[in-house]
Symmetry: C2
Subunit: 390 residues, 2 copies
């Protein structure tokens, strides 16, 4: 429980994808309207007192200070306060975390968290994916260290140690594309086979295109409020029971080990403690599968299975819808897409729908406790949030 | 009072200026060490559980996702959580605000807020000041709308309405350079005369170089904790009694009026209400004098004087050390400097020292209540924080 209690009372997102029909502002407004609509007549936008915006790429692609006003303006939300948070790919979940603290402090009753990213209308060379390393100002940062490279390091180490195979990674892609095919908000809705993943274009050995999440436009929003007020807005609030954020050293050459990530493990441990649960209590999880290997890492970092057992745990069907702990029923980053700042918020939207039994064809039966796992950079930051059906 | 109470127990900054001797990481570490040192033996860095980082230019100048790990790494702060906040020039104060909410929520007892910016080792054309407008992706944003241009609009309107003169603006620069000459951490420590301000190089009519704050390297840090624990760390804690953030429309052509700024007025009203005070109760203020005219705007927006009376209020000596409500005893942005992300945190350092009677030659006698006013963009966001001597 966070302070005196924080609940999610509304969630909404726009369809993720190549949205040449919508700019940054259109995507933000779309997610805001979808979240408000989910609350029906009982949720008036005027009741929302403050907002947290997660967006990462304004500075990178458009070279601008982004500011909270980039949300306040299209939503006509001013003069209300908007904080912009950036924590690489984990910004969405950290925005949820900070908004929850503000509600728990007693300062606000009802707040908005909105993540938005416009990624597809810029040259590929300007994308975060392509330029992660080359854009760094730090002289010691390896030049050319793109995001696929940073995660391929984990894959090659784990393969070298005999912990995972190339096919194990492909199976993550197959599972998540199967799930995403059931999600009308997903970007890549076509199932893929192991053979197709293995035959897809190489990106960074051993990762191929179908091991990598797509560059995506999108936006997602949740409305949080004091738990004691939640019934005003919905009959089925979902309590945000815990949040954990952790950091790690930023650089590959200063990391003591590959094949595990300390920040997610620490963030999860903090969140489990705050929620008063064990990993085995989680019924459904949205994981940061920016690359297939990242989901295998997550199973172990989060304690879903023992160290070294990720591949066997996956192959036993645990992570599929219908399994013991379905992971990424939304399709995850691999299929639903990964609009950087929006991802953590969209993960929480999916958990909100799953815990309320509103996930239609991809519903996880009887889910009561859900978790989001949102990793930034090469594991340099991770935020884990946990929600429970009231 | 913010929740059950939040206090400032330590503050530190590095000397602002052209710091070719120090990189981003050095500046951050310098502020962290200075803050810890200010607490003496009673403040152990290991007690600090989480951090909020304010920095704006990483994305702009170096084209990178910055993330909280850019603070965690040089401070060896990992695995502890670090949130990065960006809200243009108001990010430092908004980082204080979010950190205070986290403490007030009961989740953390002791947290760090650190602002840092490295601005001087890039070409001038890459600076935020030069490219505010030209970097925007928004097709309707006026090209070439630099920061001086955005504030010159207020100045020309106020001059046209007969509310201020060119000399009134120069007097702000004279006052703040007089104050900054007393501050060993200030960038521009040389007093200037009205004649020198008027004769300095024109930047954007009617603003000249000495009406504009300098592009600055710097970093500043404060440590916040639960008020009921504050005596553990210092005999003279300062309570952070209120915080207010507000937004406004982003664009010059959508602003209904010049010569006043709605966001600062709203942020201040919220902060005064939370603190249970009136503007007249403020004993000392650090104002966002990015340009001379901005300080004149602030007097009125904050209610220090009536609308239209800023120039007369300044000329009566109220804003100078020794006056009724000394403004910018530190030298302000004009003299101390304006390292974007660090500014709001450095303003609160100055208030902390003033309220503890530690401001040496620039001490405001008997100050009990202090205010910081931190504006982002062309008034599109503003954060006002208020502190009180315990």
């Amino acid at each position: 429980m966070i302070g005196p209690g924080v609940s999610i009372v509304a969630a909404g997102m726009v369809r993720f994808g190549e949205r040449f029909d919508a700019g940054y502002e259109d995507l933000a407004v779309g997610a805001w309207r979808a979240a408000l609509a989910s609350g029906g007549d009982r949720l008036d936008g005027e009741r929302v007192e403050a907002a947290w915006l997660s967006t990462a790429l304004g500075g990178l692609i458009r070279r601008e200070a982004v500011t909270g006003a980039s949300l306040a303006d299209p939503l006509r939300f001013y003069p209300r306060p908007v904080t912009r948070i950036e924590n690489a790919c984990a910004g969405g979940s950290d925005a949820v975390r900070n908004a929850a603290f503000a509600v728990a402090s007693g300062v606000y009753d009802v707040v908005l968290v909105l993540g938005v990213e416009k990624m597809r209308d810029v040259p590929t060379r300007a994308s975060l994916i392509a330029q992660r390393g080359t854009m760094s100002h730090l002289w010691w940062h390896p030049r050319g260290a793109t995001s696929p490279y940073l995660f391929a390091q984990h894959a090659t180490v784990m393969m070298d140690e005999g912990l995972i195979t190339r096919e194990d990674m492909a199976l993550v892609s197959v599972k998540n594309h199967d799930h995403g095919a059931l999600n009308p908000n997903a970007f890549m809705r076509k199932p893929v086979t192991v053979e197709q993943v293995l035959a897809s274009a190489p990106v960074c050995e051993p990762l191929s295109v179908l091991d990598c999440c797509p560059t995506t436009d999108g936006a997602a929003a949740v409305v949080l409020c004091r738990s004691d007020l939640a019934q005003q807005f919905t009959d089925a609030p979902v309590e945000l029971v815990a949040t954990g954020l952790a950091t790690d050293t930023m650089y590959s050459h200063t990391k003591p080990v590959f094949g595990r990530q300390p920040a997610p493990t620490r963030a999860a441990a903090d969140a489990y403690r705050m929620a008063g649960i064990d990993p085995g209590d989680v019924d459904v999880a949205e994981l940061h599968d920016c690359f297939t290997v990242a989901e295998l890492l997550a199973y172990e970092d989060l304690g879903f299975c023992e160290r070294g057992k990720a591949a066997a745990w996956l192959r036993a069907g645990n992570a599929a819808i219908g399994g013991a702990l379905p992971c990424n029923p939304s399709g995850g980053l691999l299929s639903k897409g990964h609009p950087i700042g929006a991802t953590g918020v969209a993960q929480l939207c999916e958990i909100f729908w799953q815990l309320r039994g509103e996930a239609a064809d991809r519903q996880v039966d009887g889910a009561r406790i859900g978790l989001t796992h949102n990793v930034g950079g090469n594991g340099q930051v991770c935020c884990v949030n946990i929600a429970r059906r009231s």
